[in-house]
Assembly symmetry: D3
Homo-oligomer: 321 residues x 6
């Protein structure tokens, strides 16, 4: 049986992280990972059974090639335009790992990265028209005016081709303000089938008040969505498909690396839901995938299906031997 | 005063462990330790005052020599037959370190290791006849038919020589099934004086029902044991000597490395009990040793006696200076 | 606006620490930090806005230069007498990192270090007469008879010059006994304006009974102090200035490295109080600085002011991006 | 233009290497790489422009998956039968890195690995019939009787399908003796088109005397080969196609890791020769690829085409910026 | 005696270097250093006795603060304008460490860094007017039009204040082409007193033909220089002051890190020459400093004066104890 | 056959070494080894077949225990007096690893270590009277007046018991001056049977002029020695037994760690010579052992006999597999 094909479009960055307990100021080594919201979704989905492709634009340098190598490691197929221009660059971010009550600190250095100039025309378009689902996040249109346009064309092309369009709001306050985000996202949402949104972002950015259930119902109605998933941090997630709502609590974890938790959630959900599992089953896999991500270093959920099964079966042993 | 002599016979393996948070699939370094149930017992017992010897069979290669070096580091005397055959090999296991709710994953690569061919005749026999106590575990007879025979001869020889025979059931479901285990162990138990068994294994493997106290009493009676110690995970341990039973709770720990906890418990117990401490005192030392093991990397309890004393005295300071 | 000038005099040592979970006996690498009670205070204070100088005596070797380099890293100005003698040495200490219930173990190798011969005359005296505040701790007079004399002259010179004199009792039982400490400290306290003392040390060493409030009031009265701060471990701290007392609880932390917590507390307090913040505000900053220190490796609090602000504002996010 | 397709069949192992200067006996970390003669050829060839697939049989465990992940990293397509049996295992080897005059020491632990049971029938056969070239080495038939048969069928199937069959003698004295090797290889050579052989192996194993030119000519004639490449260590390599012979000296290197040099040579040669470059050009690329391999850690040549070009152009700068 | 004051103005970057033998594509850690041509000169000069200040513009982030921390470590005083703008960034470069015949590969990501907007007006000007010497390199005006202007004003201001102006051509072909460089540098040279130039750059960029002696004499005459130093790689360096020329060969080294060799040369030269040592003495110290730099990791020459003395005295022992 | 028993008495220190290319000033990790001239001899001799014991005095702390653990790792038996005094300390030394032309720098911190108070009476005396050979070096009597006396008693006791006494002059200019050394050594030499001395030390310290052959003959005659071995750095070594002299050149090496070369030479020599090999054979083994030491990190020669054999047989392959 051929698995469903998922296409994810977005920016991935080189993450340069300090070792635990070492401030950026004094560290003399940095751990390197490749990460990006949509790529993270692709990795989780691929590892749980989908056939995932990651579409992007990268500098034509060994640093850019590091990104495609990273995705191939996860068996995600990279479909990439290579930026040969002189000032082609890969976005990076510094991560100073925290420990409570000191939060982890992210310092972006992503302005002017190659993807900010990516037009729909130069991208490999086949993936979008042959996909079962296409995923983008609200980070992408926040990066440049060009990418607003490109995102819009990807969503409409995908929808026209019969693919399910998936959108994760993923609001980042240091990339744009709520008003700009609202204006742009409001234009994109009519082409979206499945929406993931944090309860907080629904309020701050999209201006929806009320509890998760209310917000989900209102968004579903206003944008004629197939499915809305509202996440509320440690309070879990709620999905609404117009008829029924389902709620899923989080699995408690020992947190090794919190980055990418939300993306793992989306990837875990899609891997189940696109293979015709029920919404409650998909939500449960989403929560388990998110929990597993927190136990693994890096942005991507380097997991195996049996890890998810073990959590869902409730038979986790301290040592399995 | 000469300390009591403890002989432990069994397999030790090279443990190849991923750094925390790094899956086997992507790691590019592995931390190396030497471990094995009986060797771990010998280390803990030696460090707490016994004179311990570890008997085994190893490949005559630098990899095999790594094992004897490891035991000498702990001042445990290795008494080893060197396997000069072409296909001599050291068993290994891969350890993928977990973080809740992801359990640690052990992948064994131990089939056909040199010890599986070890006959009683080729082993250095002096240790068994000159020992105060001889320790084996249920892992050893699970490894090969030859080792069932060898284990049996060791136990009967030791008993005949007046040594106390100690046996830890240590059931491993990936080495054999409960029925095979029961059949073999039932044959061995008549030569055993002191039995350590997990409550769960007593039920699954040995077919004893009831609470820990009942199981201990029944085993004591059926096999004419001197002492039975039944461990029940976080619920602690119970010892029964035919007259009195004693219960010991676990000490809570920050867990750095859970492997070898049970072996440290046995080693800590024997170090006290063989030097004529009372059963409750031996159980308390066992629990403290097990707790300390969890705070130290590797299979072996690289501890100092004052660490145990500090826990037993209840005067642990965050920093001792 | 010129920040207040703080001078700290004391010994700093090379700290040689085992990696987590690795006993001293088996480790083959040691992490190196520079630390010392007064230097730690200077670092925290400088990072939170004061202009700090650290005065000491060091061996004229690359190992000694490592110490000044370390302080310059934190922008603390080192004012140092270089010991050119043949047996000049830097004190060191080994730190075996613990994990509950195994405490961290400190093994000092500091006897005969260069600072133990430091006389007031050979030290650069300008700092003491030009300072707004001068800080010493009870560790320094415990190191040698020479240093009792030097400490005494520093305090009286500073007081005569109009500087605020700050003293942290910091009793270390492996350097002297309570009686010797009491005798020496009693002689020094008349020249002290601001006293920091652990509740336990007030009782054991200074012979003051009662709850923190009583101890603070009694010390304030007996030594005509401007301010007394009594710390009671996890129960927090209490300050008394003769009129009002203020209490500050601790901030809970995930502890990466507990060493230097008390010094960070003092440094955080002074940075606020010497810039005319109120005592409650200074106590709160002290507690936040101490909490942050516990999340960072090494003796020194390698923090940024916004980390403190974030805790005081109560808006710590798991990931700030 | 579609690049030529190269299929390589063989065993890859987990290489567990000590850090420089650290003997196996005392090391507590091992660096992990994946390596195997045929896989190494595939990597070098893919990185220099071919479309390479690596065919093998692996244990269905995370350790086995580590191997496919490694090949995907190099963009080599793994086509693998997963061994689900209980005693499925991945071969490993320990590498104790040397420094002159101490040679690097390899200790194999590869007996009974999953590939030793691989039959032609269970392998994915499409690769062999759709390839432009199929590569195997003399290591594979040395591993088991089954693999002699499988290798034979692969070669004959490939030849029947019109693919160029490539064989590297790669004699390993610890796997078999010269007589057994000669007997087996003599049976396989009639299906070979292109033969790589070390001058020393030609003599010891295949019983051909004389200088490289004589050996090449005799082998060419006796087995009706298209091409023979005889390598003579630091004396370089000689190729003979029945008409002309070409000689290529080695490029001097600073050696970081000598393992895989010969495989990189073969991969570099095939990448050029299969895209219709002349034999001298292919030999030169082979030598450059081999030289580059020696400057990179691991068994595989993690190179970029411009590195080869830079050597061939003779314009290597100490720092390129 | 107050040491001469040297001011260096220029960009420093975060250098992100792969461990030896590990390509960028596969590395998962990067070693971090701070480096930049002028800062490197300041470090070498300060360590050999000058009082050096480094002037620059940096992003007001923990990443920017890492740079000032680095210079303070070397006791170089950082005088920095903090860039508070939203897109403030620190330039970085990736270094893939080579091994012959594979050269080290530098990949710059420095476009749009904060310093490219630095105007003379916003810089702290006191350093330039109070300096004994001011150093800039040809890299700075290559970075932006603004910096051409700023460099010009720095040189003329310094010259007007009576400081010696020092310029190192340091042509980088990936920043500009020879024609642009020539045009800009020709405008700057009239304000230069001491010129360092690679023989190759003198020809390619400045259009001067002939051997080192001829080039030096012609440059000296054309620009009314006090001193010209022409470096010719492994052939050493030649200095000409209008009257005499002096030649200095290189000291052979075991090269650990070649980056910063030229800057260490300039720093070593200035430290001697500005303290009134003769030109041959200064050249010899320059060559020794450059040689030492090659034995130390990072861009900066973390040396001690006695290391230089030991080379100049010719009494280097393998182990000094 | 029981191997000859060798006893070595002397100080071992904790060596704290910077990673390659990292100065002491900036390093934040140190590699830890245990080393000492006589212990190094014991290790090499034990590994090549003798039964070696190392006698010393150590602080009764985990740091002291690290030393005995280190020797047990090499299967050398530690016979140690534990110093329970308050100021008991282990000597240490810092090693800043060099790279030509920068020499490695040793900074000792060994004054007042526990061994400096070791009297003959408190040492375990059995080893000295039961040994076949007793080894001490000239470092030991340089450490304290007590140790001059102790060394003298050890040599005379050993000689009286019929053991061969072995002495390595090992002059260290930072411990004493040539005159003091000469006076002390002259008193000790009458009890010495076998003398190792560097040609340079024979001249500087013992005041013997002439070429190696002359010096050896003169020393042999003057002190009625059984054997004199004079080493002349890269020029090799010469042995003279009163009848014949034998010369041995050095084996060239890639040097990883030069410390302990001379001690490995002595250990390799004794392992052969004490088992009745001829002097030329013993010298050759000494040279091979010294060469191997240079390829291995740490002070001790962690070698295997087959490594020596491989060098002596002249069949070293780059990779042995």
């Amino acid at each position: 049986m051929t698995p469903p094909r998922l296409i994810a479009f977005g920016e991935s960055l080189l993450r340069l992280a300090t070792p635990t307990a070492e401030p950026i100021e004094t560290t003399d080594t940095l751990d390197v990972h490749v990460g990006g919201a949509e790529g993270n979704v692709a990795v989780a989905a691929q590892r749980l059974g989908l056939d995932a492709t990651w579409v992007s634009k990268l500098p034509a340098t060994p640093v850019g090639e590091k990104v495609t190598t990273a995705y191939r490691t996860h068996d995600v197929d990279p479909a990439v335009v290579w930026d040969e221009s002189d000032d082609a660059r890969l976005g990076t971010y510094y991560l100073e790992a925290g420990a409570a009550p000191r939060g982890s600190q992210v310092i972006y250095d992503r302005a002017g990265s190659s993807i900010t100039t990516a037009t729909f025309e130069e991208l490999p378009t086949a993936p979008f028209t042959e996909a079962d689902a296409v995923h983008v996040s609200g980070i992408t249109p926040a990066l440049s005016a060009t990418l607003v346009e490109t995102t819009s064309e990807i969503l409409s092309t995908a929808k026209d081709s019969g693919a399910t369009t998936v959108f994760d709001v993923n609001y980042r306050s240091n990339l744009w303000d709520p008003e700009s985000a609202r204006e742009t996202l409001t234009d994109l949402l009519p082409d979206v089938d499945v929406l993931f949104v944090a309860h907080r972002d629904a309020e701050t950015v999209l201006d929806y008040d009320g509890d998760a259930e209310t917000v989900a119902a209102d968004l579903h109605a206003d944008y004629d969505l197939d499915l809305v998933v509202v996440t509320t941090g440690e309070a879990g997630a709620l999905a609404f498909d117009g008829e029924r709502s389902a709620h899923q609590p989080v699995f408690e974890t020992e947190t090794v690396d919190a980055i990418g938790t939300g993306d793992a959630f989306v990837g875990g959900f899609l891997a189940a839901w696109l293979t015709d599992e029920s919404i409650p089953v998909a939500l449960e896999q989403a929560a388990a995938t998110a929990a597993l991500k927190r136990t693994i270093g890096g942005d991507a959920a380097t997991i195996r299906p049996e890890m998810v099964e073990s959590i869902l079966d409730g038979d986790v042993e301290e040592i399995s031997r």
